[in-house]
């Protein structure tokens, strides 16, 4: 029971801080056209659509209805899934379940955001309790700054460690033509030199200690679309489909004050569930490449531990010895990650799409130079919502 499902196509728009040349429906259409072209399908081949974004960013209600003339949803099954930062991965999971249910063969997952039309942090603040949390810790940056401080205190981690993650992400982004941040000035400079610059430069403003501008993701205008196909058609569409090996999610908290700030428990538990389903025992050895939703630098340390790639406090070592660089044992975020392109409703879907193209060997200049049997993607969102999807080259048993 239940069909096996694969990713067979991926399209994304170029990330920019402001796309004044297109409206929301048009940017959605750009991504849809690109994904269909990638899968060599037309919209007529699509059996159902799932779309997601954050209502309060653009201020548009019922986006699934509003966008059908761009998404291709006219006279098709379509609905909206929205879970905050995880929206894109939740949309991907929903498209997966559409196909796995046996009801639909080819399902289009769409995520988008025009952050240039939004007061992003203003909108994010309203995710939190109006009495207890909005006045003091709501929004994107405050909670992450608290998490980073706690992590630094627990393990003697320094700002240099955080900066090293930022350097990796931005260097990787230079290989990704779609990335929003292309920090060309970094080209040709040594990693140590770049880290030193980020932690000492007065231009690199502190937003909330220890987080500086360079530690945070940008706000991007962009859209992405991923085509999922059931086992009945996947191999006919793609030469190398990226099979969904396992997926799971956790969202266990309503209040930031209830979180265990030492461990990202939801990411840990969702990852464990996925590894258990997939039979993965040693994630670091068995997984070949990752596209992880890391919205800020310290996630590249602590959350690696929580996923299970290394032990508590060992994130900095994994980073500094180059394991997660493009030529390392486990390249993390060849695309440059969330810290280089963050169109919020699309962000977690781009993780799935980027992981898929590594399996499909269609990642171009950012393709990892090794066999990819397993690629891991994650989504992260409000009050520690964690989505995890493992993609693989081999059709699951």
């Amino acid at each position: 029971m239940g069909k096996r499902v694969a990713v067979v196509g991926f399209g994304q728009t170029i990330g920019r801080s402001s796309r004044k040349d297109v409206n929301g429906v048009e940017i959605i259409n750009e991504a849809v056209v690109a994904a269909l072209a990638d899968a060599e399908l037309t919209i007529d081949d699509i059996d159902a659509i799932v779309i997601g974004n954050m209502d309060h960013f653009e201020g548009i209600n019922y986006v699934d209805s509003w966008s059908v003339e761009g998404s291709g949803g006219v006279m098709k099954p379509i609905f909206k899934v929205t879970t905050g930062g995880t929206t894109g991965s939740s949309v991907a999971m929903c498209a997966y379940y559409h196909a796995a249910s046996g009801m639909f063969d080819r399902v289009l997952a769409i995520g988008w955001e025009k952050n240039s039309e939004s007061d992003t942090t203003g909108a994010i603040i309203t995710a939190f309790d109006p009495f207890w949390e909005r006045p003091n810790i709501g929004g994107a940056i405050a909670g992450l700054a608290v998490e980073a401080s706690k992590y630094m205190s627990n393990y003697g981690v320094t700002e240099r460690d955080g900066a090293r993650v930022a350097v990796r992400e931005r260097l990787h982004a230079l290989n990704n033509p779609y990335a929003h941040l292309h920090q060309e000035w970094m080209k040709g400079m040594e990693v140590d030199q770049l880290v030193e610059l980020l932690v000492t430069s007065e231009q690199n403003q502190v937003l909330a200690y220890p987080l500086r501008m360079s530690d945070m993701c940008p706000r991007t205008d962009g859209a992405a679309a991923v085509v999922f196909a059931s086992e009945d058609v996947a191999e006919k569409i793609a030469p190398i489909p990226a099979w969904v090996v396992a997926t799971a999610n956790r969202h266990d908290y309503v209040y930031l004050g209830d979180l265990n700030w030492d461990v990202n428990e939801t990411l840990r538990d969702a990852s464990r569930k996925v590894f258990e389903k997939a039979g993965i025992k040693e994630p670091l050895k068995e997984i070949d490449v990752c596209e992880l939703y890391m919205p800020y630098s310290y996630a590249g340390l602590k959350w690696m531990e929580n996923i299970g790639f290394c032990g508590p406090g060992e994130g900095p070592k994994l980073l500094w010895d180059g394991t997660t660089d493009m030529d390392g044992e486990l390249p993390v975020n060849p695309s440059g990650g969330v810290m280089s392109y963050n169109a919020i409703g699309a962000t977690a879907l781009i993780r799935v799409g980027e992981a898929a193209i590594q399996v499909m060997r269609k990642a171009g200049t950012r393709q990892v130079q090794k066999d990819v049997n397993y690629a891991l993607s994650t989504g992260f969102g409000g009050c520690s919502w964690a989505d995890v999807m493992l993609l693989g080259k081999n059709k699951p048993a």
Binding site: M54, D55, E69, M75, F79, C94, H251, W385
Partner: protein, 378 residues
Amino acid sequence: MEKVGIVGVGQTKYERKKEDTFAELVFEACTGALADAGVGIEDIDNVVTVSNDFWDGRTISSMAVMDAAGSWDKDISTVEGDGVFGAMYGMMRALSGSFDTTLVVAHVKGSEGNMNLITNAMFDPIFQRQLGIDATSSAALQARSYMEKTGATEEDFARVSVKNHGNGVNNPFAQIQKKISVDDVMKSRKISEPLKLFDCSPITDGAAAIVISNEKGMKRFKKDPVWILGAAHISDSYTLGYRDLTSSPALEAAVKKAYGMAGITDPLKELDVVELADVYSYMELLWYEGLGLAPKGKGADLIRSGATAMDGDLPVNPSGGLLCAHPVLVAGLARIIEATLQIRGEAGDRQVKGANKALAHGINGPCGQAHGVFVLGS
């Protein structure tokens, strides 16, 4: 499609100004559904919540009801749309092989929002919003064009309202329990020409939850399930000017699929009861046609004939429908719950005798842009 059914239902009383928080409403509905299913939260494999950030005035509105929905350490996701679409996703998850049982819960507090502003926000921000258009004024345009096209009259719309209000008296969950006459409707306050107060659904607070299980999961439950025989959802175009507002091709396409799955060829004869989205009275006539219960343009004839009254061949909205309680988003789940209770024979004073096959219906978007339907049976 593998067999999948509904094994538990729960809903709050629908009221205008509830004091409960979103989480309290969700908890009440979920607790009710679990009790009805005769299981604990440990028997639920995953959860789908239904909410809308505009109605809740809160980004990631579903974040606030995670604990109330009992999804701790379980997979959870959120559909933003009518509950019928949440049920659709819940069903897919139960069919996917990853989970056997899904709890689907929807909540809304219409009384804490401003319907005009919230539904104005579903229209094009540059060209249309400034006109002040909202759910009601766009519906009025649709009602007017339906009258022009079919010759249906305001009295025909009033007949729908009279029927559903009459039914609502028998539903202890309904917000409005008041028998009215055609004259009462015709004399009620104008809201948006040609729609009057009793042609419009009320502002409502409430929550509803259902438990869906696949065949493998059924052994956890004592009661016989109500089976999902067919289910489908389809969206029409968005721009009102691109649509023929006097017909509902999306509903026609959705029921074609759902009836096909359920093996239904003559819905008027084969269905025993229908619960549909009568957000405004005229919509019921339009959906009659979309559902294939009346020929094109002849919806008014069906209400005039009395066929859809409680003592007719095919009672429509024995619960009183949305005209008697319209918890936005919750509405579609409430229709599924009502259909389930009818098939179980547990619908109390609103029971349709011998109901075996029922249809539940929900809509998304302006003027019924997208439709979702479930055909349920014993």
